[in-house]
Amino acid sequence: MKLYEKANTLSDHRVKVDPRADDRVPDGLYRRCPICQAVSSAQQLSVYQACPACGFGLRISAKDRLKWLVDDFAAYDTDLTSSDPLAFPGYSEKLAAAQERTGLNDSVLTGQARIDQTRFHLAIMDPTFIMGSLGTITGEKLTRLIEDATATRQPVVIYTASGGARMQEGIHSLMQMQKVATALAKHHAAGLLSVVVLTDPTTGGVTASFAMEADITLAEPHALVGFAGRRVIEQTTHEQIAHDLQQAENVLRHGFIDQIVPRDQQRATLVKLLEIGGCADDE
């Protein structure tokens, strides 16, 4: 069963949304929205990199997301790097290239964040770092962030964006699912709030772990959210599946998402949720 195949390949129309292409699009050039096909200028996409017609958020790096999301951010654990546990051919080069390109040590950026007067622990997965796949360092950074949040009694906000497991780390990648889950369970047991924001794409082992374990689950408009890959489902069931099966709106209709929140409303939404939704301790 090719469970994670799609998770690592994704469907064709989405692969074309090369997030790195953003940097290469000078002002005045136009982008077609992969969801509603509306054509927008760089100016219309704005700092949010979101389609003005349907709200779909283009895939952006963790650092680009930081620019509009928070007022202040101090990164944690920027020096960890994968030990390449399987000594997988070509992996260390691939890792080094991704580190060079993104300026991150692995597929998640973690740290202490502030929006207005609200402080919280924040993790942002980076879909441009080996498809945002879940490596040992991704899991370690998330676990340390959540453990620190538990120790310092802070809420946690996690932005997910992932093709799923990190193939090159094999079973070590799978174990991250349980490591992060355990940290979240303790955070929850301590009476602290967790919020997940599902962004395009959230799939495979990330969907089957911390993406679906928070107290409050939000999503960006039309984000791909699913477990198995479209191609795997179609090959297994020999049926064409609905084009929107794994869009956030359909996942919400089936009860797995609290609300869909466009990028320009996320700052205000997080402040409200962190004030009302939990965080019994005052600063």
């Binding site: 469970l3 994670y4 195949e5 355990t182 089936h254």
Partner: protein, 259 residues
């Protein structure tokens, strides 16, 4: 042949063999007075997961196994041993019930993975597995898993996230199938044998890497396999039951924290 001398591809083939001991045989051979408990209490009863209560050497336990079925009808109904969201929710319900009544949990796993289908997606396949991982981490009773065939990715992890994981000699545990791996890596699922070597999915390698507690020898005779599993479970349960509940949960967290 012992697994040491087998190629990874041969272990994969042996793990998928129709001749292997089944989960229902393990339950019949190990558990007295087994009473099956159906359903997830949320609208479904997945035949790919069979669970219930019974006695293990006199002690009440909860036992859960994946089920691939034997007849063509059963194989279709169980999706060849690929659980649906309702199966994982049934398993979680039974494990939470076990914790409530302080019964140890024994899990037997042989699954290619969680079923990939439209209904499974809409039923929250990812969320169902995720909730098992989250909640099982806090259940204060011993939970031991034996992988007796294929341990396929998150679909296997959802029943292998307790205190100890043991593997039969001819079994595998991996992030995806060798076919899937080959098709991603080389766009050619026919190179699965090559992928299997690269993936480090055999019990011997997994034990070396500290991913499992140990390997259980697997002779051809099913009664001998059952006796070997029995010996391991008796010994490990005895040891885990020495721990206070809080110690057990803390030790379990450490098991995964080190990865």
């Amino acid at each position: 042949m012992t697994s040491e001398k087998m190629t990874a591809a041969a272990v994969v083939a042996a793990a998928r063999s129709e001749e292997k001991v089944s989960g229902l045989e393990l339950i019949a051979g190990l558990i007295d007075d087994f009473f099956e408990l159906h359903g997830d209490r949320l609208g479904s009863d997945d035949p790919a997961i069979v669970g219930g209560i019974g006695r293990f050497h006199g002690q009440p336990v909860t036992v859960i196994t994946t089920n691939r079925g034997t007849t063509p009808e059963e194989k279709l109904a169980t999706h060849f041993g690929c659980p649906s969201p309702g199966g994982y929710r049934k398993a979680l319900r039974l494990m939470e019930q076990a914790a409530h009544f302080k019964r140890p949990v024994l899990c037997f796993v042989n699954t290619p993975g969680a079923y990939p289908g439209q209904a499974a997606e809409e039923g929250g396949q990812g969320a169902a597995i995720a909730q098992n991982l989250l909640k099982v981490s806090q259940l204060a009773v011993p939970i031991i898993t034996v992988i007796y065939g294929e341990g396929g990715s998150g679909g296997a992890l959802a029943l292998s996230c307790g205190d100890e994981v043991w593997m039969l000699e001819h079994s595998t545990y991996s992030i995806l199938s060798p076919e899937g791996f080959a098709s991603i890596l080389w766009k050619d699922s026919k190179r699965a044998n090559e992928a299997a070597e690269l993936m480090q999915l055999t019990p011997a390698v997994l034990e070396d890497q500290g991913m499992i507690e140990g390997i259980i020898a697997e002779p051809a005779d099913h009664q001998e396999v059952i006796r070997a599993v029995d010996r391991v479970l008796v010994a490990r349960l005895n040891e885990l039951q020495q721990l206070a509940p809080a110690e057990l949960v803390a030790k379990r967290a450490q098991r995964y924290r080190k990865y």
